[in-house]
Amino acid sequence: MIEMLSYPFMQRAFAAGLIIAILAAISGSFIVLRRYSLLSETLAHVSLVGVSVGLLIGSNPLWMAIVASLIASWMIEYLRSVHHLYSDSILAIFLSGSLALAIIIVSLAGSFNASLFSYLFGSILSVTNEDLAVMGIAGTAGMALLLLFFKELYFIAFDEEVARASGIRVALLNFMLVSVIAVIIALSIRVVGTLLIGALMVIPPVAAIRFGLGFFKTMLLSIIIALISVIVGLSASFFFSLPSGAAIVLCLLLFFIVALVINLP
């Protein structure tokens, strides 16, 4: 373990992984409770468009992923809240549409398949110092927003109508939440990969909810599950040369199965 942490790339992977685990578990709790779990999966696919464009034009894929993910998150929320389209339908359209766009861009370029593989499934070798700096800054900003409006977001997740009737600015906070989630997802693709980040957001809260605790305890448990999964997953990735995202998700699944078995009805 100590030998593993002596490598700078592992230090960066762990730092990035722990930041992502905390952010994903907190923001994931809100989207799970709002039956909006597919948002993370959809935005992850959208961020792949940004990655593809970044690789194609030689720009930092992480920044491009953030931009693509943010724009899509605002469009999704706009269509949901203003045009009252069904959430699952909007997400399905964006999910398949963005994947189609990403595939077209990749096939047009045809030269970066190896790089793209690491963005799809995550790679502990791929986290650079620049990525870590971006994660640190954007992650801190995202965390600050989530903590600042924590109780309001909880109220909205429980009862959006009464929250609005209480004078809470629901529309604004909904846009803020999807924006933060968009950034977290874009930041996560280095470590977990676009195809697997949805699991890091959704499985910890779903497993924690099985224990029948109050919201604050559920969220704390969700963070613990995400942190342990990232630590174990990254370690397995180092020792057994596995894609980091897949190792993390298998660990999360194990937690989910344990939570199900312990709390059988």
Binding site: F155, F158, E161, V162, S166, G167, G214
Partner: protein
């Protein structure tokens, strides 16, 4: 002469959805200290009236004043405790304890990123005690009966120290005994804490003796001072669309 300030005023308020008129030129006033009920057939616009009042829908015409202030300038939403129609229908697995739900009533009054103060804690405990749910404080809201959830939602509304309580069809999914207990609670809140009450119901008879004003809503609005006057009113049959009899039974 005693002066009763107005809590809510509707001036020629209309509401339509895609050309379909739900409410037409509604004019009414609710005064401080009143105990009012709204009745009317399903689809008549009762819930729409409340949603317009709470700013959840915008009127297509007319103006609404809350506590004498134009609705779009009104900020003191904590003065209005709102319990919507489906509030007792909570997902059984939602991770929220009774205490956490009641504490939500304080959220709008607390600043951004603030912790619960001693006063907040005291008010939350007091609201739970008043509604008789203190012993349930650590239970998940989804694990309670319909009647218990209803009392928790009222406790949440009371936690903001409202001057008026608005309850939309409180008896949806609640057994008869809980309904009677619920009306007792409303009466008690009105009499002991002086909270004005406005609620939608289908069972005026049960609470007939206490109501100071009854609103009958079926696209238009008919106001009567007492349920007895409403019973005699031929407008009810006309507005319901068929002959109707309202039976007052005292409990």
């Amino acid at each position: 002469m005693k002066f009763f300030p107005s809590l809510f005023e509707f001036h020629n308020v209309s509401f339509s959805v895609r050309g379909n008129e739900i409410l037409k030129s509604v004019n009414c006033t609710v005064l401080k200290g009143e105990y009012c009920a709204i009745i009317g057939p399903n689809g008549g616009g009762k819930t729409t009236l409340i949603r317009l009042l709470m700013g959840l829908d915008k009127p297509t015409a007319g103006t609404i004043k809350l506590f004498g202030v134009e609705q779009n300038k009104f900020k003191a939403w904590h003065k209005i405790g709102y319990v919507p129609q489906r509030s007792a229908l909570v997902d059984a697995n939602f991770p929220a304890t009774v205490r956490e739900v009641v504490a939500m009533g304080r959220y709008a009054l607390r600043g951004v990123f603030s912790f619960e103060s001693a006063e907040d804690r005291h008010i939350i405990e007091e609201s739970m005690e008043q509604m008789g749910v203190s012993d349930l404080c650590d239970r998940l809201i989804g694990h309670l009966s319909g009647g218990q959830r209803q009392r928790v939602m009222i406790a949440r509304a009371l936690a903001s120290h409202p001057e008026v309580l608005i309850v939309d069809e409180p008896n949806t999914g609640v057994d008869v005994e809980s309904q009677h207990r619920f009306y007792e609670l409303l009466r008690s809140l009105h009499k002991t804490r002086g909270i004005s009450i406005l609620f939608i119901t289908h069972d005026v008879g049960v609470i007939a003796e206490d109501i100071s004003k009854l609103f009958f809503v079926n696209q238009t609005l008919l106001v009567s001072q007492t349920p007895q006057e409403m019973v005699r009113c031929e407008e009810i049959s006309r507005l319901y669309g068929n002959p109707s009899h309202v039976v007052c039974h005292n409990h």
